[in-house]
């Protein structure tokens, strides 16, 4: 007992010995008014934009804010956290630092708020290193084009809308049709892929986040994931900085040469939070009452996603922003903005969702502008044919609704299309490895599934994966590693026909 006491006393002594105090000149101001999380402050003559300021609201109470507006004789500041203690005439001190958040390996596996405070009750997080939340994105010299795939584990996406490491792929769709699910499945599928994941929840219900975190824990995904949470009950200021704070953490991992996946869920709520702040700061409203710089708000954020060249560390930040549309309206202000910023979008449709095609990816409207460069060879080969089949099926299906007299070729195309549709259906939290995906698609485009009844396709597929897991491990390995050649093709053919033989 006394040893512990001595140790503590020793520690305190050494801290006191280390402590250095020097008188510094600081700039101060006075609060003129506080309203709705915004404070107007006089004085503070030489603060800079997005500098942190410190409010002294009581004997030992300090809260922080950040400078967003500078006018002739006042400064507009958004306050983080509680602002009810701050009174008119309170002293405000400039800190001389732009807003920065703690970063580090200790953030992995934690749920934190945008300022790096733990929210999961697992104890305090060590704050050793800080990164500024706003940073200029890497330039042309440091970048490299996307050349490595990021497997989502979702068949419809990996085959038709492939995502590469360093890409920005928007997930867009109405509420409640599986946008978050795609992002979470992707995070779960990054297990053992050497990717760090960051999930930024902006304005989400805390109950939903609790569900997501427990789901991630269940699949062992929290071992490489950080959840940054600015919930629906947090003030707009925290919602506003949340994606930037997440990106700052991603940039820390990037600087270690890691590959990072970051999900912003969702940016429409982020834009709404920024609109709130802007209107309270009396900036003029524009279309849909969003301020003039709402495009820059998202472009500067998503531009920080990148794939660095080898000389610059070779890491990457892949961004999956999510946008919620109202009644499928992709031509609203924020959706069009973010669509034009990103390298493609995954468009989810409620009609498909209610028909039972889940994930409800609309293959026609979804695109990936750069990802196909990063697909593995075998996948590229089968996906090309498969995409064609899917497109033909869509066209024919619309046409065949009116007539019943169809020639044999059309009929067979339709039948195959129906089976393809079944294959593209995939349950939640069940990502599939890319080798298995290639195998099932290969089986489809080569007619192995044509004689399986549509309602049995799902069972057939599950059986094939299980069979391949036991018998065809070498084939699966060959798919991932090698070229797409005749040897591989014959191996796959053999595996599939062997499996079919077991069904008889």
């Amino acid at each position: 007992m006394s040893i512990a006491k001595d140790f503590i006393i020793e520690q305190i002594k050494s801290r006191i010995a280390d402590y250095k105090e020097d008188a510094k000149m600081r700039t101060i101001g006075k609060v003129i008014s506080v309203s709705d999380g915004i404070a107007r402050i006089s004085g503070l003559s030489d603060v800079s934009m997005s500098e942190m300021v410190e409010f002294k609201s009581g004997e030992d109470k300090t809260s922080y804010g950040v400078v967003l507006n500078m006018e002739e004789d006042s400064v507009g500041v958004v306050i983080f956290g509680e602002y009810t203690d701050i009174k008119e005439g309170n002293e405000v001190m400039a800190t001389g630092r732009v807003l920065e958040v703690p970063v580090g390996q200790s953030m992995i596996g934690r749920v934190v708020d945008p300022l790096g405070e733990a929210l999961d009750g697992k104890g305090k997080i060590e704050k050793k290193k800080f990164y500024p939340i706003e940073k200029i994105a890497p330039g042309v010299i440091a970048r490299q084009s996307v050349n490595q795939p990021l497997q989502t584990g979702i068949k419809a996406i990996d085959a038709m809308i492939p995502i590469g490491r360093g890409q920005r792929e928007l997930i867009i769709g109405d509420r409640q049709i599986g946008k978050t699910t795609i992002a979470i499945d992707t995070i779960i599928n990054q297990k053992d892929q050497n990717i760090k994941c960051i999930y930024v929840a902006i304005g989400q219900k805390e109950s939903k986040i609790a569900g997501i975190v427990s789901r991630l824990e269940k699949h062992g995904a929290m071992a490489y994931t950080t959840v940054i949470l600015a919930g629906a009950s947090n003030p707009a200021s925290l919602l506003y900085i949340a994606p930037y704070a997440g990106t700052a953490l991603a940039e820390y991992f990037l600087d270690q040469g890691d590959d990072v996946l970051i999900v912003y869920d969702d940016l429409s709520k982020h834009a709404v939070a920024y609109r709130e702040i802007s209107l309270l700061l009396r900036r003029p409203p524009g279309r849909e009452a969003y301020p003039g710089d709402v495009f820059y708000l998202h472009s500067r954020l998503l531009e920080r996603a990148c794939r660095l060249s080898k000389e610059y560390g070779g890491g990457s930040i892949t961004a999956l922003p999510i946008i919620e549309t109202q009644a499928g309206d992709v031509s609203a202000y924020i959706p069009t903005n973010v669509i034009s910023i990103t390298d493609g979008q995954i468009y989810l449709e409620s009609d498909l969702f209610y028909k039972g095609n889940r994930p409800a990816v609309n293959a026609g409207l979804s695109v990936s502008r750069v990802g196909s460069a990063a697909q593995i060879k075998a996948m590229k080969k089968v996906a090309g044919k498969m995409r064609l089949e899917a497109a033909q099926y869509r066209e024919l299906a619309a046409f065949a609704q009116f007539g019943s007299d169809l020639d044999a070729e059309t009929k067979s195309k339709l039948e195959r299309g129906r089976r393809l549709n079944e294959i593209l259906k995939q349950g939640q939290y069940s990502p599939l490895s890319v080798a298995n995906q290639v195998l099932i698609f290969y089986a489809l485009i080569n007619g192995f599934i044509d004689d399986v009844e549509v309602k049995n396709v799902i069972g057939f597929e599950e059986g094939l994966h299980k069979y391949a897991e036991i018998v065809g491990k070498d084939v699966l390995k060959q798919i991932i590693q090698g070229e797409f050649n005749e040897d591989l093709e014959s191996n796959m053919k053999m595996l599939i026909s062997d499996y079919k033989a077991t069904l008889q």
């Binding site: 801290r15 700039t27 101060i28 004085g43 503070l44 003559s45």
Partner: protein, 133 residues
């Protein structure tokens, strides 16, 4: 057009510039007359505030507030004055002394929107914070 207190203060400053004391008096009398004619006499306190801060800026005068735990002697005040003149580059320093027992010891110097906090209270608080973390 509405004339703001700031406009009034600036124009008054320009009108007085380089005038001798008795000339300035005439200007000020005229100025008050103008205020009365414009029905703006109620703005006078605001104009005075802005004018004095403009005047101080123009003539490089700073007002400094010095808070100490007990009354400072003339010697230390003098050296403080020298220090402030050097620090701010002003020509003249107006010192306002304040006694506040709560700061325990040391002094707190303020001028414009700058503050140099050398009080014992702040030092103790910082020390206790550094031990806590």
């Amino acid at each position: 057009m509405k004339i703001t207190p700031k406009d009034y203060a600036i124009s008054l400053l320009r009108a007085i510039e380089g005038k001798k004391e008795n000339e300035a008096k005439v200007v000020i009398e005229n100025f008050v007359g103008l205020l009365a004619r414009n029905n703006d006499l109620s703005k006078a306190p605001g104009i005075m505030d802005i004018f004095s801060s403009l005047w101080n800026k123009e003539n490089k005068i700073i007002e400094s507030e010095i808070t100490a735990a007990k009354k400072l002697d003339a010697n230390s005040l003098d050296s403080l004055k020298g220090f402030l003149l050097e620090l701010s580059g002003a020509k003249e320093v107006k010192m306002i002394e304040k006694v506040d027992k709560d700061i325990l010891g040391g002094i707190v110097v303020r001028y414009d929107d700058k503050v140099i906090d050398m009080s014992l209270r702040t030092k103790i608080r910082n020390l206790s914070n550094s031990i806590k973390t």
